[in-house]
């Protein structure tokens, strides 16, 4: 296991001077993940908050080789880099060991990026894909994505007299990736940094595709700029965002909350859910959905 100090003493692979929002938890997530391997890393990143805020010409916050291609093809792009590595290594033109990672927001992973992520996973490239899930198209100002939770208010699923927030439950990308049969899939949270680090380490060491979905509470959820970590913690404790891994098809839940909190306690911290406070019907629907999914996960863990 590692410590904060050990992570801190590693050379920074992402540096200050970026223009992410104050309190954005994504840079610490990236720092923790990239510290989980001592090998050289090449990163691809989909268009989105992380990419735009870290690479505005002539400044880059990346201290590792980095490529941004387009919105939906981070996985395809890193596949290309990895193929080049395989080809050049076979020809003896590259001798060192390099790890490959692609970052995408939920927009660039659940929605527009799903195809290229699926293709890269199916082809079995040796890479890590990290989805920093802030549950919406945040770089363009909080539009709903398929990762936006049911009932959440966004600019394209606003609360009005006829509709109250997003009308569908969110997609489960983590399970979609498990269905690809790749060696390692995990769900992590910045509230549990050593769990995240452990997962990143396993992902880098896995031979083949690895996928980590990391919850990234965002200012546009209607939270204060210092609250991201505690809200992520509530997401975990309410089982809205379970921490689990699937290694070669075997499920393991990393944290079973001793005192499970209600989804209302998680939702009341964010103004994107404020219309739910007095809407028992919607809250019950959400709680039921979370309970069902949590029980399903428990059953999956029990299966051989």
């Amino acid at each position: 296991m590692t410590t904060f100090k050990e992570i801190a003493l590693k050379e920074k692979r992402i540096v200050s001077g970026h223009t992410m929002c104050p309190g954005c938890i994504v840079p610490p997530i990236v720092r923790i993940i990239l510290a989980a391997t001592d090998k050289e890393v090449v990163a691809a990143c989909a268009t989105g908050c992380l990419e735009v805020a870290t690479t505005i010409y002539p400044r880059s916050s990346w201290n590792i080789p980095f490529i941004h291609n387009a919105f939906e093809n981070a996985a395809a792009t890193i596949s290309g880099v990895e193929e080049a590595y395989t080809a050049l290594r076979k020809k003896g033109k590259i001798k060192k060991e390099i790890k490959f990672i692609a970052f995408g927001g939920d927009g660039g992973s659940y929605d527009i990026g799903l195809q290229s992520l699926s293709g890269a996973a199916e082809r079995g490239h040796d890479f890590v894909y990290v989805c920093y899930d802030n549950e919406g198209y945040m770089n363009t100002g909080n539009q709903r994505s398929s990762a936006t939770p049911y009932g959440a208010s966004t600019t394209t699923s606003p609360v009005g007299s006829a509709r109250k927030g997003k009308q569908n439950f969110r997609k489960d990308l983590t399970e979609i990736m498990v269905a690809h049969g790749i060696p390692y899939v995990a769900q992590a949270s910045p509230s549990h940094p050593f769990d995240l680090f452990m997962k990143a380490k396993k992902a880098f060491e896995a031979k083949g595709p690895a996928f980590i979905n990391v919850l990234a509470p965002c200012a546009q959820w209607g939270i204060k700029q210092d609250e991201a970590v505690e809200i992520a913690d509530k997401a975990v404790k309410s089982c809205f965002w379970p921490l689990y891994e699937v290694e070669n098809g075997k499920y393991k839940i990393n944290l079973k909350p001793e005192k499970k909190i209600s989804v209302g306690e998680f939702a009341e911290t964010q103004s994107r859910f404020k219309h739910l406070i007095h809407d028992n019907e919607m809250l019950e629907k959400i709680q039921k959905n979370i309970d069902e999914k949590w029980n399903h996960l428990i059953n999956l863990e029990m299966e051989k």
Partner: protein, 92 residues
């Protein structure tokens, strides 16, 4: 005003040098700044890792912050296990 490069002087294809954002001091807009009580600080490094601007570090066995980049979000104060960081107004 810094003189910007002409098209003949720029690197091709918009390629950028690594870690070049260090020249961008993002701390100018902050309203609050963290003040660390070094006597209470247990040097757990939690604030160092959680700082979104990666601007908390150890120097001469003390935890320091680089106000050039600090945006004053207060996450460091929030996560500190011994509450040794106070957020004070950085400007009027």
């Amino acid at each position: 005003m810094k003189k910007l490069k002409s098209w003949k002087e720029m690197k091709k294809a918009g390629l950028v040098e690594p870690a070049s954002s260090l020249s961008n001091k993002t701390g100018e807009w902050k309203i609050f700044k963290p003040v660390i009580d070094h006597k209470k600080c247990i040097r757990c490094f939690k604030c160092v890792i959680y700082c979104p601007d990666l601007c908390i570090f150890e120097k001469d066995e003390k935890i320091e912050r680089n106000l050039d980049y600090c945006k004053g979000c207060g996450l460091c104060a929030k996560v500190c296990p011994v509450k040794c960081i106070a957020m004070e107004r950085a400007r009027k």
